[in-house]
C-alpha cells in the first residue's frame, strides 16, 4: 500500500480514473513523440503533491509487552500453583487411615469427675461392645493368602 502511494505515476495525473494496478508505472511513457518523429523531451508535469501518508503513532514497544508478559507469567504461575495444590490435596485425602492415637491430655474426663463402680461397669461394657464388633477370623482369615485362594 505505501509503495503504491510513494511512487505516483505520471499518467495518474492525466487519467486519474485509471486505476494504477491496471497500468503499471514501469510501462508508462515519460516522453511524447513529436510529429517529425523526433523525440523532444517534454518538461515533466508538475509532480502532484504526494499524498501525505498518515503517520501512525508508534506504539511504544517498551511497556506494553512487558506488562503482558508479566501478566501471563503471573497467571501461569497462579494456575500451576493451583494445580499443584489440588493434586497434593487430592493425594493427601486419598492416603491411608491415620493410626495415631489421641493423647491422653485431649481426652475429656468422664461426667461429674467422680468414678464409681457403675462407671467401671460402663467402661467394661464399652470394651466388650468394641471387641464384639471385631471378628478376628473374618478380618484375618487363615487362608487369605493361600495359593488356591488368590488363584496361584
Amino acid at each position: 500500500m505505501s509503495a503504491r502511494l510513494g511512487k505516483p505515476a505520471v499518467m495518474d495525473v492525466q487519467r486519474p480514473a485509471q486505476p494504477t494496478d491496471i497500468m503499471p508505472t514501469a510501462q508508462l511513457p515519460v516522453t511524447n513523440a513529436s510529429p517529425a518523429g523526433l523525440e523532444v523531451p517534454q518538461p515533466l508535469p508538475e509532480q502532484p503533491q504526494q499524498p501525505q501518508t498518515i503517520q501512525q503513532p508508534k506504539i511504544k514497544g517498551g511497556k506494553g509487552p512487558i506488562v503482558a508478559i508479566i501478566l501471563i507469567v503471573f497467571v501461569v504461575l497462579l494456575l500451576i500453583g493451583g494445580a499443584v495444590f489440588y493434586y497434593l490435596r487430592s493425594r493427601a485425602s486419598s492416603g491411608t487411615v491415620p493410626i495415631t492415637q489421641t493423647p491422653a491430655a485431649q481426652i475429656p474426663v468422664a461426667d461429674d469427675g467422680y468414678t464409681d463402680p457403675a462407671d467401671i461397669d460402663a467402661t467394661v461394657q464399652k470394651i466388650d461392645g468394641a471387641l464384639t464388633n471385631l471378628n478376628d477370623s473374618t478380618d484375618f482369615g487363615a487362608s487369605d493368602l493361600n495359593d488356591s485362594t488368590i488363584g496361584l
Binding site: L79, V97, I107, D136, D139
Partner: protein, 215 residues
C-alpha cells in the same frame, strides 16, 4: 487501521493468556487423572517402592525355580486382581480396628484420669493401659506394612519381575501370620489383663464406698 491493529494485538494477548495456561493445566490434570488410580493404589513415592522391592527380594528364603517363575508369569494378573480385593478389605479392617482400639484406649485413659482426680491408686491400671497401647501400636504398624505390601503386589510388573512378586507375596504371608498373632494377643490382653484390673478397681471402689457409708 490503528484500531484494527490494537484489536488484533488484544485478541492475540487474550489468546495467549487463555491458551498458554490451558496447555499446562489440561495435560497436568489429564495425566493426574490417568495415573491417579495407580498412584493411589501404589505407593506414596516411586523411590521407596523400588527400595521395598529390593527389600522383599532380600527376604526371599529360597531362589525362585523356573517352574514357579512360569506359573507366576502365567497367572499373576488374575492373582493381582484377587490381591487388590484383599487390599481393599484390609483397608476396611484397618479403619474398623483402629476405631475400636482407639475407643478402648480412650475409655481407659478417661477412666484413669477420673480415678486420679479422686486420688485413686492407678499405677497398675496405667501399666496395663500402657502395655495395651504398645500392643495396639505394634498391630497397627504390622497392619500398615501388610496393607502396603498388598498394594505393592498389585503394582509389581509380575510378568517381567516374578522374583519380586514372589518375594512380596512371601512377605505379605509373613505379615499376615504376624497379624493373626497380634490380633489374638490384643484380645487376650484385654480379656485376661485389662478387664481383671478393671474388676479389681471396681472392687476397691465398692469397698471404699462401703467404708464411707459405715462412717
Amino acid at each position: 487501521m490503528t484500531e484494527k491493529r490494537g484489536t488484533n494485538k488484544l485478541i492475540k494477548t487474550l489468546a495467549v493468556l487463555v491458551l498458554l495456561p490451558l496447555s499446562i493445566i489440561i495435560p497436568t490434570l489429564s495425566l493426574e487423572s490417568y495415573y491417579a488410580p495407580t498412584t493411589n493404589a501404589q505407593v506414596r513415592n516411586t523411590k521407596s517402592f523400588a527400595e521395598r522391592k529390593k527389600q522383599y527380594r532380600a527376604q526371599l528364603k529360597e531362589a525362585l525355580s523356573t517352574t514357579d517363575e512360569q506359573r507366576i508369569q502365567l497367572r499373576c494378573l488374575a492373582v493381582q486382581a484377587n490381591i487388590k480385593t484383599l487390599a481393599t478389605r484390609s483397608g476396611e479392617v484397618q479403619t474398623k480396628r483402629v476405631a475400636a482400639y482407639s475407643e478402648i484406649t480412650k475409655e481407659m485413659d478417661a477412666l484413669s484420669a477420673s480415678l486420679k482426680n479422686q486420688a485413686f491408686e492407678t499405677s497398675e491400671l496405667d501399666k496395663n493401659i500402657a502395655e495395651l497401647k504398645v500392643k495396639v501400636t505394634a498391630f497397627q504398624t504390622t497392619l500398615a506394612d501388610y496393607k502396603q505390601t498388598l498394594e505393592d503386589l498389585t503394582v509389581i510388573d509380575c510378568s517381567q519381575d516374578a522374583a519380586s512378586f514372589k518375594a512380596a507375596l512371601e512377605t505379605a504371608r509373613d505379615l499376615h501370620t504376624k497379624l493373626i498373632g497380634q490380633v489374638a494377643e490384643v484380645r487376650a490382653f484385654i480379656l485376661n489383663a485389662l478387664k481383671p484390673s478393671l474388676q479389681q478397681v471396681r472392687e476397691e471402689l465398692v469397698s471404699q464406698q462401703a467404708a464411707g457409708e459405715s462412717r
